[in-house]
């Protein structure tokens, strides 16, 4: 793709761009994380920084913010050179950062959080009145409604993000860096964030918007910079760009969308009636859920994180017992033990692949048999049949295209695999099913199966799930990514406060309707 670059300007300092990066290079050992990146951020501009995992986005931002020291290159902020490697200098130059994972103290008020770290320690009195006035002024100016005395723990995710933005603004940020800001928001909350961004920009701020969601990027940004393998491969105006072209720039090749095979759903595989899991809180984790899932269909459960989807996934993985109701898998009630579910042919893809999916310190081949090491296929009289386990791992690596094993082979320490390859290993382990029968699994439980993966790996995982579905597997997809939900699902239901709304065919849902249901609107409508 042709790369365009802003024309070099000899404008006076007053009109200098907000940020000017020249030839930024950063190496980690033999890995070049940033390779001679030159980039300008204009005043009042939203610049989208697009790229897959490992493309160098985080490294570049860390250099901007002074957390890393660039090996080569220089940065100017508003025409003045930015001293490298000093977060304080970056703050003083007006660079503010809103992290994907918020850095707020839940037990403090909004005002306390905004003030935290801004006052000199030796000053005997806290200047709260002044700080409050500054906070309210910023809130007013940028249209960010917030109650300074509310405890942060009681706020919604969208409101917390607003506090993070205000925190940066009250510290005098003129350049705001937002790292994957919509990853945790509902569609409605994202809308309100975009409105906020428009207001910030109108007030003269500049924004760097890091994302991998192409629709959003095209909507909110003026200019789009695409990184791939540490290099700036595209720098172009958002007007005139399209999704396919950006995806190709990110991945380096064309990415065909996943193809769905039409198929009439078969016999019910999962029958959950009145499923209730109490938990320790006042509200049940799962509150009387009815769910029927048939062979050959993808059933998606959407919802904001923490509304019971995880518990539903764990229930179907054998990690939770029901406190009320009944559950059958392929007509059988199973004891609430993971091994029983694995043996019944449930292919399980957990949400957190590092913490739950694999034992990172063990070699790849041991993780390939982690669920079935005790079966006669891989052990006899308590001794692991290493040759058979290695052969199984080898076939998984080949069939599911797990890369990154070039130097150490099957003994590669699993932690060192990239997220995509780790997910391929988990997917392969689950989908390969019983090594003796080699039958495809009757049920696949996939919880956020593409979270944090790059476009190529996402496409691969989607295609594998759809192919398994075409072979007759029932797929339960739990996802917060609505693009993914619409791309894969035959039927969709939304979870809120431990309850599952009525499922409807995917084509009958609109984005707005799902967003409303995710925020509890459906429930409110029922109650009214």
């Amino acid at each position: 793709m042709a790369s365009r670059r802003a024309a070099p300007s000899d404008r006076p300092r007053l009109n200098a761009p907000a940020l000017r990066l020249r030839g930024i290079t950063k190496r980690f050992g033999s890995l070049v994380a940033n390779d001679g990146i030159s980039l300008d951020l204009g005043r009042g501009e939203v610049l989208a920084l697009l790229g897959e995992n490992g493309a160098g986005k985080s490294t570049l931002v860390s250099i901007l913010f002074g957390h890393y020291l660039a090996d080569e290159g220089a940065i100017e902020a508003f025409g003045a050179p930015l001293p490298p490697g000093q977060p304080k200098a970056a703050l003083a130059a007006g660079i503010g950062m809103v992290h994907q994972h918020f850095t707020l103290a839940d037990n403090l008020s909004v005002l306390d959080n905004v003030m935290l770290g801004t006052e000199p320690l030796w000053w005997p009195f806290s200047r709260r009145a002044r700080a409050r006035a500054r906070l309210l002024d910023a809130a007013q100016r940028f249209g960010l409604q917030v109650n300074p005395d509310a405890q942060v723990g009681t706020l919604s995710v969208g409101e917390r993000q607003r506090v993070e933005i205000l925190k940066a603004l009250t510290r005098g940020a003129k350049i705001l860096i937002l790292d994957e800001p919509t990853a945790v928001l509902t569609p409605q909350e994202s809308e309100s964030l975009f409105a906020t961004l428009a207001q910030l920009v109108a007030a003269g701020l500049s924004v760097i918007f890091i994302s991998h969601k192409l629709d959003e990027v095209l909507r909110v940004s003026h200019r789009i910079a695409v990184l791939r393998g540490g290099r700036l491969v595209a720098d172009l105006p958002a007007a005139g760009a399209d999704k396919a072209m950006l995806a190709e720039a990110m991945v380096g090749r064309a990415v065909p969308p996943a193809t769905k095979h039409a198929r009439a759903p078969g016999a019910p595989v999962v029958e959950l009636r009145g499923g209730t899991v109490r938990g320790t809180g006042a509200r049940p984790l799962l509150d009387g859920i009815d769910l029927e899932l048939r062979a050959g269909e993808v059933f998606a459960v959407a919802g904001v994180a923490g509304n019971g989807q995880d518990v539903l996934a764990e229930l179907l993985c054998g990690l939770h017992a029901l406190d009320g109701g009944t559950l059958t898998i392929a007509g059988r009630a199973l004891p609430a033990r993971p091994r029983a579910f694995v043996e019944a042919g449930v292919a399980r893809i957990p949400e957190d692949r590092h913490a739950v999916g694999v034992v990172g310190d063990l070699p790849l081949w041991e993780n390939a048999v982690l669920e079935r090491y005790a079966s006669p296929a891989f052990s006899r009289h308590g001794i692991v049949r290493r040759e058979l386990a290695l052969a199984h791992a080898k076939s998984l690596v080949e069939r599911f295209d797990v890369r990154g094993t070039e130097s150490a082979g099957l003994a590669t320490i699993t932690r060192s695999l990239s997220g995509g390859n780790m997910q391929k290993l988990i997917l392969g382990r689950a989908l390969a099913g019983d090594p003796d029968t080699k039958s495809s699994p009757p049920l696949i439980v996939a919880n956020q199966p593409t979270w944090g993966l790059d476009i190529g790996a996402v496409a691969y995982v989607h295609q594998q799930l759809l192919d398994a579905c075409a072979q007759g597997s029932a797929v339960l997809l739990i996802s917060e990514d609505l693009d993914e939900v619409f791309a894969l699902a035959d039927r969709i239901a939304v979870m809120h406060h431990g309850r599952l709304g009525a499922p409807k065919p995917a084509r009958e849902w609109t984005l707005a309707a799902i967003g409303l249901a995710m925020a509890g609107g459906e429930e409110a409508a029922h109650a009214a």
Binding site: F28, L319, R337, P338, A355, V359, V384
Partner: protein, 353 residues
């Protein structure tokens, strides 16, 4: 100055790290030796000679290494499963007492049972005593979330006081002229000498066999796979269907049993009775040995012989030049820290700003 993770580890570093660790240890300890006013080179030469320089030195080192191998294995297997058993010392004493209870009480008659029956019973009792002593803290950890470092450490003092009570009470040897020491086990139950005119006894073979067995268990069995997986990531192990709580109990029993056996073998191979100073901290040294060996059972054998040699060598060096024997503890401790730091530098690098 900050730490950065290395993407790859160069080969020279992997080989150089242990060498650097040894050099650093020697440097630090030679400062102390010089401070004590002794000639550094001569002190080191004496230390090496005392630990490894003669037939007698080797037999003394191997005798000392025998219980250290077992306590090292006890720590290694527990640490592998993230069960931080600091109670090896107490488990060793519990095993020693149990051995005497089976092999020495009833006036040494053993109810006239054959040694062929009594010996396995004695070993079993010692292993059980150690295992049961660790079972409580392990269950408290898995059920109630009680920190096992605290419980196992504190149990050491309770056990030592209990031993003291027994040595002055029911198990007191009346013929020991008032010394707090237990009755002895039957002569028939004592371990034979491996080498003539030395103190090396057949307990060494037991220790080596235990190391090989533990190595095979961890490497080749499903139980070993479970132990390694649960230790490295208990959540993932549970998700995959491993019985995490049962594995932790198994590991506790195994670790406690190994430390208990160390006590029984020390009794049966050395004095034949229990005293309050029979272990100069073998249980605690086991932790250091396990860490030096990177929790590898075969590495534990080498690390135990190294530590034993330093301890024995320091004894003889301190007699020749005026350096206190505490130098041995310093050498072992500094080498542990140096090895841990060197291992860290194979994975991280320092960056200066």
């Amino acid at each position: 100055m900050q730490l950065e993770r290395r993407s790859t580890t160069p080969r020279w570093l992997l080989l150089g790290a242990p060498v650097g660790a040894i050099a650093f240890t020697l440097l630090i300890t030679s400062l102390l030796v010089a401070w004590a006013g002794a000639p550094v080179a001569r002190a080191y030469a004496l230390l090496l000679e005392g630990g490894f320089g003669s037939r007698f030195a080797w037999t003394e080192t191997l005798t000392r290494a025998t219980p250290l191998i077992l306590t090292g294995l006890a720590a290694a297997v527990a640490f592998r499963a993230r069960l931080f058993n600091i109670g090896g010392e107490g488990q060793l004493y519990a095993g020693a007492l149990a051995a005497v209870a089976v092999g020495g009480l009833h006036g040494g008659s053993g109810f006239d049972a054959s040694p062929w029956l009594l010996f396995p019973l004695m070993m079993l009792a010692a292993a059980l005593a150690g295992a049961l002593l660790l079972l409580g803290p392990a269950l408290a950890k898995s059920r109630l979330g009680v920190d096992e470092v605290v419980t196992t450490l504190l149990l050491n003092f309770i056990v030592l006081l209990f031993v003291s009570a027994m040595l002055d009470g029911p198990m007191k040897d009346a013929s020991a002229m008032g010394w707090p020491q237990s009755v002895a086990i039957q002569d028939a139950l004592q371990l034979g000498k491996l080498i003539e005119r030395s103190r090396v006894h057949s307990g060494l073979l037991w220790s080596l066999a235990a190391a090989v067995a533990l190595w095979a268990l961890l490497k080749h069995t499903t139980t070993g796979f479970e132990i390694r997986a649960v230790g490295a990531n208990a959540r993932a192990a549970a998700f995959a269907g491993m019985p995490v709580a049962a594995v932790q109990v198994k590991v506790a029993l195994l670790s406690g049993a190994l430390a208990g056996l160390a006590g029984a073998i020390e009794v049966a191979g050395r004095a034949g009775y229990v005293t309050l100073d029979m272990s100069p901290g073998y249980g605690y040294s086991g932790i250091v040995i396990a860490m030096l060996a990177a929790l590898n059972p075969l590495g534990v054998v080498a690390a135990a012989i190294f530590v034993a040699g330093i301890l024995v060598g320091a004894d003889s060096m301190s007699r020749a030049v005026n350096v206190p024997t505490y130098i041995a503890d310093v050498i072992v401790s500094v080498s542990l820290i140096a090895v841990l730091v060197a291992t860290m530098f194979t994975q991280y690098r320092l960056r200066w700003k």
